[in-house]
Structure formats: structure tokens, C-alpha cells
């Protein structure tokens, strides 16, 4: 990453394009990149029939493929993330931004204004999911008017299934766990729990953590 080492000796235009026309049968690498970007269409016979262009195109394609892994390779040589750096980020994010709606908790005394945040309830749904082996809960939605006590609420959950786990089985256990935890902790009237399994993961490492 040198800013200064090559500051002198400006290149002339001749320098810049010097090698291309001779080596690439009159084409430049830049043209060839555009040709690739366009999916080699419309077909250009002077490129397609030139061995040197074909070699250059192959190189370019190889470089494209390498672009992403290049960064990954570099990242893999870097020292691990500093724990205080990670903690610093987590410290600076706003948890309040995920509070969602306010879900009332009933009480006979009219002076009582009691409630649980929607975000807390979603946390309960995740906690229920985390108790179910072979399954990971993702996004969770509370469909219905949660702000009206007694209104029927449907819980919609995205989940990932561990490789080799029976989906209907795990879904049943998850549904049961969600009902159980919400009945225990909230006054919500749960009309149903919809589970969408749209992901698969390898559970081998589950529980072992990093």
C-alpha cells in the first residue's frame, strides 16, 4: 500500500497501452474485460479467433473467480478479531430499536399499566427454539393486534433444520415449546404457531460452541 514509492516518472500513453496491441492482436485487456462482462456477445470474430486473446480471456476469468477468495485468503492470515473490538461494537448498538409494540399485561387495578415489549416476546420464542434439539429459530412475527388484551395472535417463525432431523417432529416440538413459554410468561391468546422451515444446517457443532 505505497502511496509514494512510485510518484515520479509519469507514464506516457504509449507506456500504458504498449504491450496490449502487439500481444492481443490489436485488442486491449480492457476491451476483453468488457467483452467478458457482456457475456462474449455480440460475438467478435477477431477476439474469438485470436489465440492470445483467448489466453487473456481465460486469465481474466480466472482472476474474476479469484477476486472474492483473494479477500478471504487475506482475512484468514489476519489475527483474530480483538475481543474488546467486538464488545465495543455490541456495546454501541441500540437494543431499544428492536422493542416493537407494547403488549399489555392484565391487572384488575385500573391504576396498573403493565406491559411486555414485543421484542421480549420474540426473545421468548427464540429461547423456546433454542431448547429444541436439531432446530434453529430465525425470524419471528407476532401476527394480530397484540396491543388488545385477549386478541388472537398467530406466531410465525422461520427455522433452520439440522441435517438428519425430522422436520414434522422438530416442528411439533418447537410448536409445543413456543406455546409453553408464551403461556408461562405472557397473557397472549395464541391462536396458532406457523413454522416455516426454509433452511438446513449442519448441527454437528451444535452446543460445542467455538
Amino acid at each position: 500500500m505505497n502511496d509514494s514509492q512510485n510518484d515520479s516518472e509519469p507514464a506516457t500513453d504509449a507506456d500504458r497501452t504498449r504491450r496490449d496491441p502487439a500481444e492481443l492482436d490489436g485488442h486491449t485487456l480492457d476491451e476483453l474485460s468488457d467483452y467478458l462482462d457482456a457475456g462474449r456477445a455480440p460475438a467478435d470474430a477477431s477476439i474469438d479467433s485470436s489465440p492470445s486473446c483467448q489466453i487473456a480471456l481465460t486469465s481474466l476469468e480466472r482472476l474474476y473467480r479469484l477476486s472474492d477468495t483473494l479477500l478471504e485468503a487475506q482475512a484468514s492470515t489476519e489475527p483474530d478479531l480483538d475481543e474488546s473490538w467486538v464488545a465495543g461494537i455490541l456495546h454501541n448498538i441500540s437494543r431499544d430499536s428492536r422493542a416493537g409494540r407494547t403488549i399489555p399485561v392484565t391487572h384488575p387495578d385500573p391504576a396498573a399499566e403493565l406491559a411486555i415489549t414485543e421484542g421480549t416476546v420474540r426473545g421468548l420464542v427464540r429461547a423456546a427454539g433454542d431448547m429444541v434439539e436439531g432446530l434453529l429459530v430465525g425470524r419471528c412475527r407476532l401476527d394480530g393486534d397484540v396491543t388488545t388484551p385477549g386478541a388472537p395472535i398467530t406466531i410465525s417463525v422461520d427455522a433452520s433444520i439440522g441435517w438428519g432431523t425430522s422436520i414434522p417432529d422438530a416442528a411439533d416440538r418447537l410448536r409445543e415449546a413456543i406455546y409453553g413459554i408464551l403461556i408461562r410468561h405472557t397473557d397472549l391468546t395464541i391462536a396458532g404457531v406457523d413454522i416455516t422451515v426454509d433452511d438446513v444446517h449442519n448441527p454437528a457443532a451444535k452446543g460445542s460452541s467455538r
Binding site: T102, V105, H107, L114, A115
Partner: protein, 107 residues
Amino acid sequence: MTTTTDLQQEILNVTTAIPGVATVYPAAPAAQTILENVVSVITQQPAPLPISITETDGGIAVALTIGAATNTPAADLCRLVYDTLVDHFRQNSQPVASIRILIANIE
């Protein structure tokens, strides 16, 4: 004479003594003292007082946000905190207009 700060402290003490109450928000996050070298990019808002008290004609209106422990049913805990505070104010002959309790986390 009881100042608002005294009253806030009193409510805080009563609330945190209730089994199942894990946190009273928004207190200054504990992590802040641990991490001296955290990012300075985000403006740190001054931590608001953990308990809000408003004087009304019908008595005080109290509002607090708490974190509940996982082993206590949250809605029941919410009611328990309310009942405990009402009892406490009754014993101290403190008229109460309303008490708002919000559970913002189960930890």
C-alpha cells in the same frame, strides 16, 4: 420532605429486592465501565434516570422498565412488582395515580 431522587431510590430498592427482577432500565450499562476503549463514533446519550416520577393531582405517576429473570413468569412478575409497589406506597401513605411497568427483556 421526600425529594424525587429519594423516592426514585426508594422505588429502585423495593423493585430490585423482588425475586425475579434482574434489572431496572435504563440504568447506565455496566459494560460501559469495563470498556474504556470502546468506539467513540456513536454519541453516548446520558443515561436517563431509571425511574420516572410525575406528580399529578391524584398522586404520583410512576414509570419503570425492568428486565425479568428467565425463571420467573414475566407477566406474573410484572403484576408482582406492581402489587409490591402499591403496598409500599400504601404503607407510606403516598397517594398513587398510576404505576407503569414495562418488561423490556428476559435475561
